[in-house]
């Protein structure tokens, strides 16, 4: 099982890259494709324990603890995510599930145990908060590859620097974002978002990277909201790839009966 070629788990932070444009120069297309796969598609599946610390401008903190399971349909293609909440204790057993599609809107579900309610959440807008943190849903499941135009604006000793501009600017709050991609392993290590007034307002950064089962993996990342002055730090523990997750876990049936992989 561990011999399989490994995949990375959602580095909650640094999502979204895409190859797009037929017109894009070959190096850019290649960089974007490799970065996308390095950050979202390590292994065929993966699991991680996640702790999230949300800090607001007044330094008040809130914590979340959850387990993420991921299963890829194809490398660089459709994926499924299962997020099982452990803390805070009053939302324990809450589940959030995503079927991510490259060519259409994702399917999203939420299970709220105290209301015994499974709820579909419309996913037309993915730039909403992930569970009250400064991360967006799109940061978790990845921004679809074809939504931006990419441009290599700089190359340093260590990084490729890409500027990404949305194809439909009306649907997102940013005007563009710039990615710094590590030349050695193609992991994006920093993203800076520029708003429509031309100001930098959001920064996502990889704070710690480890090699796990041969995959460079972001194990700690942070998003800063420069407007409100808050930030969210996410740490990934017990990351494992290719653990042989069953496709049936990612179904509505399992929302009420979380699988052992998620619970422990």
């Amino acid at each position: 099982m561990k011999t399989r070629f490994l995949t990375l788990l959602i580095p909650l932070a640094l999502l979204l890259l895409s190859t797009t444009a037929v017109s894009a120069a070959p190096p850019v297309e290649e960089i974007v494709d490799k970065a996308n796969k390095a950050s979202y598609y390590a292994g065929n599946d993966g699991k991680s324990d996640v702790t999230m610390t949300i800090t607001d401008a007044q330094e008040r903190t809130r914590n979340r603890e959850f387990v993420i399971l991921r299963l890829d349909a194809t490398d660089g293609g459709d994926q499924k995510f299962y997020v099982y909440f452990k803390k805070p204790s009053d939302v324990r057993k809450t589940v959030f599930m995503v079927h991510k599609f490259i060519d259409k809107d994702d399917d999203r579900w939420m299970y709220l145990p105290a209301l015994d309610l499974v709820k579909r959440i419309a996913a037309s807008d993915k730039r909403t908060s992930f569970m009250g943190s400064h991360f967006f849903y799109e940061d978790v499941s990845g921004r679809t590859v074809t939504e931006d135009n990419h441009e290599l604006i700089d190359e340093t000793d260590k990084f490729f620097v890409l500027k990404n501009t949305p194809k439909s600017p009306d649907t997102v709050e940013f005007a563009s974002y710039t990615l710094w991609i590590d030349k050695t392993n193609f992991l994006p290590v920093k993203a800076e978002y520029i708003n429509k007034a031309g100001q930098k307002y959001r920064v996502v950064e990889a704070l710690e990277t480890k090699d796990i089962q041969g995959h460079p993996t972001v194990t700690k990342s942070r998003v800063e909201d420069l407007e409100s002055g808050g930030n969210t730090v996410t740490e990934f523990h017990d990351v494992a790839y290719d653990i042989g997750l069953d496709d049936s876990i990612f179904t509505e049936r399992y929302l009420r009966r979380p699988p052992r992989e998620a619970r422990r």
Binding site: D56, A57, Q58, R60, R62, P88, S89, D90, V91, R92, T94, M110, L112, P113, A114, L115, L117, K119, R120, I121, A122, S124, D125, R127, T128, S129, F130, M131, G132, S133, Y137, D170, A197, E227, S228, G230, R260, R263, R264
Partner: protein, 873 residues
């Protein structure tokens, strides 16, 4: 040589030097005015460290609240109201424009774009078909069709949080609430928005209104300066013209103008130079100082005018005049000063500064008058005075009218003295009745006249929305600390009842053992729970799958105990808030209120397909928590923290009032207290208010009681000074009569006509005291002198109604009429001051000249017993 003429010898001999020195002094102190720092914030009526203000700022910080400019867009004509593509395009454009606003030189003063409440900037949760819910912007883009526009309306109307706040219930108005980081930036925001609105070429039937307390307060400050620049010179001009009528000699009457100018400039210069801000209160210093500064010189001029033709020598005349007037002038200045200085006893910093500097200004004016007028008179050539004053044989028409009128009045007071006194006492009783009806109330919006744009905006928007005045009702947990053993007991109790199969029993036994052991050594409740949780989690990690889940369940129970302070997640507490809100919403003073309960109910409803029966608070803490975490999947999860702190120990009920009157706020506070007393909350909580509307109530309270104390103390001080001056309690008592009558009458009238007792009205009591006692001192001092000269009161009173009465009458007319330009002001406090200044002058002048002689007539036997008999002079 008497003290008056002795003191002026130097100015008489060195007039140029004295005048140069005075001009230099005025220029130096006056130049300090250029360092002016304006502060129009009524919040500063309370000192920085005032408890309620500290709390207000804490609440603003904890709940990320800002003062708001309210921009209303109204369309009464379109069949769909504001929900048509064109109007919504304006709304969108204004919202985006507002987001960009910041102060050109102070970047910290800006609009908080992310917290603007506007259709394009608020999230709503709604049904999206197939049992899906969707979080989306209420207006993600400007709608292109009627259908899209109406969809926005329906979505907003379906959201209780938005209806009545963002959209009016009739669909004819949208409110954009623009939070700003600093209140003194509100006027700038208003101006910029108005500019932007003016640039719309297609406004059509759309109307735009801007209001909100910060706008009113900041705009008032800006307009106040225009007022100062217009009213003060106009008042000066009016005084000048009247004096011209009385004294005819421009070269001479220019001197009181110069004195007023010098006193005002140097006082304001010193105020600003000593680091005081120019506040609404201190901006009124010139207007208060001017009449007082002019009064002394009018006394001198009036006397000079009457005596010059007898003496025919300017130097001797001025010496004579100063001998007559020096003591009364000193005492009137001292008493007026004392009246204002007593304001330093109020607990309100701007009022203290106002009182101290007016007091200082009065003494300045006195000093300048004493040394400047003699110097000035000496500089005039004797020839230029040739025609000055009343030649006794040929008095002018006007003077003879005034003189003959006054003579008649003198006879009347003497013959009808008892009737006058009875009438006065009757008036006093009526006044007291009026005073008992006084309405203590204030509202910064009402500082503008009714037809002012801000008043109109206030009226229109409050007729459409839940209210543009905000108050924050903050509830805070007051749960008692538990000892480790009490905590252990509580947790033990919640673990019991968990019994079930054998595995469960086994885990439970271990868990309890750990709990009991740990509770013996734990220092406090927190560390006990911490240690137990750690120990349990070690066991949990080692356990089988079946046991693992049981351990987790137990840990949940432990967390429930740990989080028992998080009462604002508790359904019981949320329902209590619901009841409280319903109660105040029905009180008639509250337009609307929003709280964490409303958030929970709305989310709960939408999770259950928008059905009305689910517009409720769910039954368990976990269900509430899960509704709230659902809410936090929106674009603006932090909106929750406007209503509750992240530790769920404090909640904020955002109350919208349609009327910013302090009385309305007071009534609301009373209602809340009564409700909470009648319906005890399910947990120990503490209730407090914050918000600008509430702050206004607090400083008003301080103002009213502070003014009362200041007035009483200055009344006593002035009385003591009078006793000292006249060396007789009876004379001292007499001196207090005109001012007592004036104050009683003025406040009696305020009570009867229903004029609210507000800031300017409160300050007027000091002015009354200062001016009214002036006349009394002059009158009594001169009466005593006249008695000494004539030896009988019936003779003396005739003299009194010659020159002394004319001086007082001239003063009354000059000051009263001089301040009528204030009536044209668009700012109500200035109008108030204008009207009451005129009334104070009239009543106190009248009171002095009618009541005092009547009282002297009745009491003459007693009063003149100690006065030196004429024969010994």
């Amino acid at each position: 040589m008497k003290i008056g003429s002795r003191l002026i010898q130097y100015p008489i001999h060195h007039p140029k030097l004295i005048i140069s020195l005075l001009v230099i002094f005025t220029l130096i102190t006056g130049s300090l005015i250029s360092f002016v720092h304006v502060d129009t914030d009524p919040e500063n009526m309370l000192s920085e460290d005032e408890a309620v203000r500290v709390y207000h700022n804490l609440v603003k910080k904890e709940f990320t609240l800002y003062d708001m400019v309210v921009l209303g867009v109204v369309n009464e004509k379109h069949p769909d109201g504001v929900f048509n593509p064109q109007t919504l395009a304006h709304v969108h454009e204004l919202t985006e424009f507002a987001k960009t606003l910041s102060h050109p030189t102070e970047p910290d003063k800006k609009v908080v774009g992310r917290d603007i409440i506007a259709p394009g900037n608020v999230d709503t949760i709604k049904q999206a078909g197939l049992g899906q819910v969707r979080f989306e912007w209420l207006m993600p883009q400007v709608p292109k069709t009627r259908e899209e526009a109406l969809e926005i309306r329906d979505s907003a109307m379906g959201n209780h949080m938005l209806k009545g706040t963002l959209v009016s219930e009739d669909g004819k108005a949208i409110g954009i609430y623009i939070p700003i980081t600093s209140k003194d930036f509100a006027h700038f925001v208003r101006e910029k928005l108005l500019e932007k609105i003016d640039s719309f070429s297609d406004a059509g039937d759309d109307q735009f209104f801007i209001t909100g307390l910060p706008v009113a307060e900041d705009t008032f400050g800006k307009e106040m300066f225009v007022q100062m620049a217009v009213s003060a010179p106009l008042a000066m001009l009016a005084i000048f013209l009247l004096m011209l009528v009385f004294f005819k000699k421009i070269s001479l009457i220019i001197s009181p103008m110069i004195i007023a100018m010098m006193s005002v400039l140097s006082t304001m210069g010193l105020l600003i130079g000593t680091g005081n801000t120019l506040h609404i209160m201190s901006s009124m210093i010139p207007i208060f100082l001017m009449p007082i500064a002019v009064v002394d010189s009018i006394h001198i001029l009036s006397e000079f005018f009457d005596e010059y033709q007898k003496i025919k020598d300017r130097r001797k005349t001025i010496e004579h005049v100063l001998n007559q007037l020096f003591m009364p002038m000193l005492y009137t200045s001292l008493t007026s000063s004392a009246g204002f200085a007593s304001l330093a006893l109020t607990p309100i910093p701007p009022v203290q500064a106002f009182g101290i500097f007016v007091a200082l200004g009065i003494m300045f004016a006195w000093f300048i008058t004493i040394i400047f007028i003699p110097a000035y008179v000496m500089l005039l050539k004797e020839e230029t005075l040739e025609n000055f004053g009343t030649p006794h044989h040929a008095s002018s028409q006007k003077i003879s009218f005034l003189s003959s009128f006054l003579k008649g009045a003198g006879r009347f007071t003497y013959s009808q003295s008892k009737l006058i006194l009875v009438f006065t006492i009757g008036m006093l009783f009526v006044s007291v009745w009026g005073i008992s009806k006084i309405n203590v109330n204030d509202n910064p919006i009402k500082w503008f006249t009714k037809d002012h744009e801000i008043r109109i905006a206030d009226r229109v928007l409050n007729s459409h929305f839940g209210g543009t005045y905000e108050a924050y009702l903050v509830l805070e947990t007051r749960q008692k600390e538990l000892s480790p053993s009490q905590t252990a007991e509580l947790l033990m109790k919640s673990l019991t009842g968990e019994e079930g199969d054998k595995t469960t029993e086994e885990v439970l036994k271990q868990a309890k053992e750990i709990l009991v052991q740990t509770s013996l050594s734990a220092k406090n409740s927190e560390s006990l729970l911490q240690q137990v949780e750690e120990k349990w989690s070690v066991r949990q990690e080692q356990s089988s799958d079946a046991e693992y889940d049981i351990w987790i369940d137990l840990t949940d129970k432990l967390n429930a105990v740990k989080n028992r302070d998080q009462i604002f997640k508790n359904p019981e507490m949320l329902r209590y808030i619901d009841g409280l809100q319903q109660n105040i919403n029905q009180s008639g003073v509250v337009g609307k209120s929003n709280s964490v309960t409303d958030v929970v109910k709305k989310v709960h409803q939408e999770l259950f397909e928008g059905k009305n029966e689910f517009y409720t608070v769910p039954d368990t803490i976990n269900a509430v928590a899960q509704c709230l975490i659902s809410f936090q999947n929106s674009h603006k999860p932090d909106d929750l923290w406007h209503f509750v702190t992240p530790d769920y120990q404090k909640a904020n009920i955002w109350v919208q009032l349609k009327n910013g009157d302090n009385q309305v706020m007071e009534e609301l506070a009373k209602k809340v207290k009564a409700y909470m007393a009648a319906n005890p909350p399910p947990f120990e909580i503490e209730q407090k208010w914050a918000g600008l509307t509430y702050l206004n109530v607090v400083w008003q309270d301080k103002m009213v009681t502070g003014m009362q104390e200041a007035f009483l103390s200055s009344f006593i001080i002035v009385f003591l000074m009078m006793v000292l001056l006249f060396r007789s309690p009876t004379w001292g008592f007499l001196a207090m009569i005109p001012l007592s009558v004036t104050i009683a009458l003025i406040y009696g009238i305020i009570g009867f006509i229903g004029k609210d007792y507000d800031m300017p009205v409160a300050v007027l009591s000091s002015l009354t005291l200062g001016l009214a006692v002036d006349f009394a001192i002059h009158f009594l001092e001169r009466s005593r002198a006249a008695y000494r000269n004539t030896g009988s009161w019936s003779e003396a009173i005739k003299n009194m109604f010659e020159e002394p009465a004319r001086a007082i009458s001239r003063n009354v007319i000059v000051v009263a009429v001089g301040f009528t330009p204030l009536l044209a002001a668009p700012l109500v406090p200035y109008k108030t001051v204008g009207i009451f200044l005129a009334s104070i002058m009239a009543i106190s002048g009248f009171g002095t000249m009618i009541i005092l002689p009547a009282a002297i007539t009745v009491l003459q036997g007693r009063l003149f017993k100690k006065i030196v008999p004429p024969g010994t002079k």
